[in-house]
C-alpha cells in the first residue's frame, strides 16, 4: 500500500493516547561548577588559542553590558539589552562554527557577534546611532549587523529570522558552499508562527540550518510555563522530523560540543538540527523592563550561582592557560578601554540628512528626492529646530 500521508501506520486495536510528555530530552553537561569535567564526560578538543578567545569574548560582553546598561541609566544611550547569563550559549555556539557560516540572531547574541570579531568601536557606533554605525543610525541600540563577518542585521519583530534562516541555508546549499546558517531565538519567539513555518520548511527542503533556541525562562515577564506545555522546545524538532539536542547553556564546553556536532551533521546531510540551550536571563528583558514585578530576588540569586563565565574560568586556570592576576588586570584595563570608546563614539556626528532617504530603495525614487528637497528648505528656514542636520546641509 502506498503511504500518501507520510506517516507510519502501525495498527493497534485498542484506543490509547500517546502522552504529551512521552518525549523527554536529556541535557548535555560537560563542565561542572568547580571547573572540572563531569565523571564520564569528555571535554571537546579545544586548542588554547580558541579557548582563550572564547573566554575573552565572554568577559568582554560581560563588561560591555555592565558599562552600557549604566550608560543607558545615565541617559547617554536610549536603550540597552544585556546578554547576562547567556554568554556561554552565544559564544560557545559561535566558536563551533566556521567564520563564514551565517549568523541570524534575535537580539541578545552579542557574545556570538564579539566572537566573530565585531570591534569595540563598531559596538559603540551602533549603540550611539552615529554616522559610523554600519546601520546608519536607523535602528535602536543592540540591533547590530555586519556583512563582512556574516552576521545578519537584527530585526526587532520576533522569530522572523527563523524561516529566513531556512531560506538562507538552502541558498548556501544550492550554491555549493560548505557553510551552514545558525539561527538564534528565544523560547518565547518559538511560539510565533514563523518558528513552525521555518522548521518545517528547513526539514522539508533539507536546509543546513542550526536552529539554536535560547530557552532562558522568560519572554519579558512571561515565564516559560505560561509559554508552552511541552518538554521545552527541543522535543518539537522530532515533530518536524529533525534531530535535536539540549545543552546546559551555562556550560560552554557542552554548547561548543553540541554545536560542533550539529554543524558537522547539517553539512554532511543538509538536514537542519534544533539545539536548545537551558540558561537563565539574569538581567531584565531590556533597559525598559524591571523584573522585580514578576520574579523573586531569590530565584535570580539561585541562578546567579550558575555563572557561565566563572565555571569556564576555573577550567582555564586549572589547565594553566589563564593567569588569575593578569586576567583581573586585563578586565580592569577593558573597563577603561570601553569607557574611552564610549566617550569617542558619543561625540561622533549623527548620519547626514541624505541618509533619511537612502536605502529605502537601491536609488531614491523621485518622490523621495522631492520630499527631501522640501524638508531641506524647511530646515533652512528653522535651523535651530533641527540642530543635528541644519549645520551640515549641502
Amino acid at each position: 500500500m502506498t503511504n500518501p500521508n507520510n506517516a507510519t501506520i502501525s495498527t493497534v486495536h485498542t484506543a490509547e493516547f500517546t502522552s504529551g510528555h512521552a518525549l523527554q530530552i536529556p541535557t548535555l553537561r560537560i563542565l561542572q561548577d568547580d571547573g572540572t569535567i563531569y565523571p564520564g564526560a569528555v571535554a571537546p578538543e579545544l586548542d588554547k588559542e580558541t579557548a582563550l578567545k572564547m573566554y575573552h569574548s565572554m568577559s568582554f560582553i560581560r563588561v560591555l553590558d555592565e558599562r552600557m546598561l549604566a550608560a543607558q541609566r545615565q541617559g547617554r544611550i536610549s536603550f540597552y539589552m544585556q546578554c547576562l547569563g547567556e554568554e556561554a550559549a552565544t559564544v560557545g555556539s559561535a566558536a563551533a562554527l566556521d567564520d563564514k557560516d551565517m549568523i541570524m540572531a534575535q537580539y541578545r547574541e552579542q557574545g556570538a557577534l564579539r566572537y566573530r570579531g565585531f570591534s569595540l568601536e563598531q559596538f559603540m557606533n551602533q549603540l550611539f546611532s552615529n554616522e559610523k554605525d554600519l546601520g546608519k543610525g536607523r535602528q535602536m541600540p543592540v540591533h547590530y549587523g555586519s556583512k563582512d563577518i556574516y552576521y545578519m542585521t537584527i530585526s526587532s519583530p520576533l522569530g522572523t529570522q527563523i524561516p529566513q534562516a531556512a531560506g538562507y541555508a538552502y541558498a548556501q546549499k544550492l550554491r555549493g558552499l560548505s557553510n551552514v546558517t545558525i539561527c538564534y531565538f528565544g523560547e518565547g519567539a518559538a511560539s510565533e508562527g514563523d518558528f513552525h513555518a521555518g522548521l518545517n520548511m528547513a526539514a522539508v527542503h533539507k536546509a543546513p540550518v542550526l536552529f539554536f533556541c535560547r530557552n532562558n525562562g522568560y519572554a519579558i515577564s512571561t515565564p516559560a510555563n505560561e509559554q508552552f506545555k511541552g518538554d521545552g522546545i527541543a522535543c518539537r524538532a522530532v515533530g518536524y522530523g529533525m534531530k535535536a539536542i539540549r545543552v546546559d547553556g551555562a556550560d560552554i564546553l557542552a554548547v561548543y560540543q553540541a554545536t560542533k556536532m550539529a554543524r558537522e551533521y547539517a553539512l554532511e546531510t543538509n538536514e537542519p538540527v534544533l539545539l536548545e540551550s537551558i540558561a537563565y536571563r539574569l538581567g531584565a528583558h531590556s533597559s525598559s523592563d524591571d523584573p522585580s514585578g514578576y520574579r523573586s530576588k531569590e530565584e535570580e540569586e539561585q541562578w546567579r550561582k550558575n555563572d557561565p563565565i566563572s565555571r569556564f574560568r576555573l577550567w582555564l586556570l586549572a589547565k594553566g592557560w589563564l593567569d588569575d592576576e593578569a586576567d583581573k588586570a586585563q578586565i580592569e584595563a577593558l573597563r577603561a578601554e570601553i569607557l574611552d570608546a564610549l566617550k569617542v563614539a558619543e561625540k561622533v556626528a549623527k548620519p547626514g540628512i541624505e541618509h533619511l532617504i537612502s536605502d529605502v530603495y537601491a536609488e531614491p525614487i523621485p518622490e523621495l528626492e522631492r520630499q527631501l528637497a522640501e524638508l531641506k528648505a524647511h530646515i533652512r528656514k528653522y535651523p535651530d529646530a533641527y540642530p543635528i542636520t541644519s549645520g551640515r546641509m549641502s
Binding site: H143, E192, T222, E226, L356, H378, I388
Partner: protein, 325 residues
C-alpha cells in the same frame, strides 16, 4: 472626576467593562500578572482572575485567531498587541477573518465585541519597529472599525464604546501620550460614539484635521498661526473607520481650506482618502489645495526622527501656505 493619565484611563475603562460584563476578557503578551509592558492591564488579573485576564504565548497571529474564536462564541475579547509594529503576523486573522466574519457567513456568525488594543506611533526613540502608525492598512479593510484617542478622557470613552460595539474595533493608543497626557476623567461609565469627529476649536480661515498624538502638535501650530491672525478650526477625527465625513465637509465648506496631519508616511496614508472625499464634496468651496503634513515615505528613522516627523513647524508652514495660496 479624577485626574488620570492615558494609561490609567484605559485601565479604568477595562476595569469598568469587566465589572459590568462578565464576557469581557483581556489577554495578550505580558498582560496578566505583570499588567502589560505599559501596565494598561495592571491589577486586572488580581481583580478578575486568571481566566479573564491572562498572558498568552508570544504569537500575535495566535492572539488574533484566539480572539476571533472567543468573539464568535459570543464573548468580548479585548486583545492587546504589544506594539502596533508587531500586529502584522496577525494581519491575516484580522483582515481575512475578523473583518469578514459577519459578511461571509450571511450574519450567521460575527465577532462584534472584539477589540484589538495596540500602542502605535513615534516620539519614544523607538526606531522603525516601535514607532509605526499602521492605521491606513486596516482602513482599507471593510468590516473593521478603527478609533484613536487623543487624551485620557477620549481614551476611556472611545474604548468603552469599542467594547460595546457590535463590530470589531482596532483601538490604536498613542504610546507617546500614555503617561504624558493627563486630564480629568469621570470615574463612571461613559461612551464616546465611534464614527463621530469632534470640532475642538472653531475658526474661519482654515480647517486643521488630525487624530491621536498629532492633535497636540496641531494645537501648537495653530497657536503660531493665530499669532499671525489666522483663525483655525481644529478637528479631531477620533475614528478612522468609519470616518465622519459630514463634520469635515461642514467645516471645510465654511473655511474653504484644509490641512491634514498624520504621523504615518504620506503615500497611501489616510489623509489621501480624506483629501479625495473632501475635494469631491467641497470642490466649489475650496480656496486652496488640500494640504497633507505627514511622515516621509521612508521607514520611521531613529537618529533623524526630528527631521522626519510631521511636527508643529511643518504644520504651521502648511497652514500659512494654505491661507496665502
Amino acid at each position: 472626576m479624577a485626574k488620570m493619565n492615558m494609561l490609567q484611563a484605559i485601565n479604568n475603562a477595562l476595569d469598568l467593562a469587566m465589572a459590568k460584563d462578565s464576557t469581557v476578557v483581556c489577554f495578550g503578551e505580558d498582560v496578566g500578572h505583570f499588567g502589560g509592558v505599559f501596565r494598561a492591564t495592571s491589577k486586572l488579573q488580581e481583580k478578575y482572575g486568571k481566566d479573564r485576564c491572562f498572558n498568552t504565548p508570544l504569537t500575535e497571529q495566535g492572539i488574533a485567531g484566539f480572539a476571533n474564536g472567543m468573539a464568535s462564541q459570543g464573548m468580548k475579547p479585548v486583545a492587546e498587541i504589544q506594539f502596533a509594529d508587531y500586529i502584522f503576523p496577525a494581519f491575516d486573522q484580522i483582515v481575512n477573518e475578523t473583518a469578514k466574519f459577519r459578511y461571509r457567513s450571511g450574519n450567521e456568525f460575527n465577532v462584534g465585541g472584539l477589540v484589538f488594543r495596540t500602542p502605535y506611533g513615534g516620539g519614544i526613540a523607538g526606531g522603525h519597529y516601535h514607532s509605526q502608525s499602521p492605521e491606513a492598512y486596516f482602513a482599507h479593510t471593510p468590516g473593521l472599525k478603527i478609533a484613536v484617542p487623543r487624551d485620557p478622557y477620549q481614551a476611556k470613552g472611545l474604548l468603552l464604546a469599542s467594547i460595546a460595539s457590535e463590530d470589531p474595533v482596532i483601538f490604536f493608543e498613542p504610546k507617546k501620550l500614555y503617561r504624558a497626557s493627563t486630564g480629568e476623567v469621570p470615574e463612571e461609565y461613559y461612551e464616546i460614539p465611534l464614527g463621530v469627529a469632534e470640532v475642538m476649536q472653531e475658526g474661519k480661515d482654515v480647517t486643521v484635521l488630525a487624530w491621536g498624538a498629532q492633535i497636540e502638535i496641531c494645537q501648537k501650530a495653530i497657536e503660531m498661526a493665530q499669532a499671525q491672525g489666522i483663525s483655525c478650526e481644529l478637528i479631531d477625527l477620533r475614528s478612522i473607520l468609519p470616518w465622519d465625513v459630514e463634520t469635515v465637509v461642514k467645516s471645510v465648506t465654511k473655511t474653504g481650506r484644509l490641512v491634514i496631519n498624520h504621523e504615518a508616511p504620506l503615500t497611501g496614508g489616510f489623509a489621501g482618502e480624506i483629501a479625495a472625499t473632501i475635494q469631491q464634496r467641497c470642490f466649489l468651496h475650496l480656496e486652496s489645495p488640500i494640504a497633507r503634513v505627514c511622515g516621509l515615505d521612508t521607514p520611521y528613522p531613529l537618529a533623524l526622527e526630528r527631521e522626519y516627523v510631521a511636527d508643529h513647524l511643518k504644520t504651521f508652514e502648511a497652514i500659512v501656505a494654505s491661507v496665502k495660496f
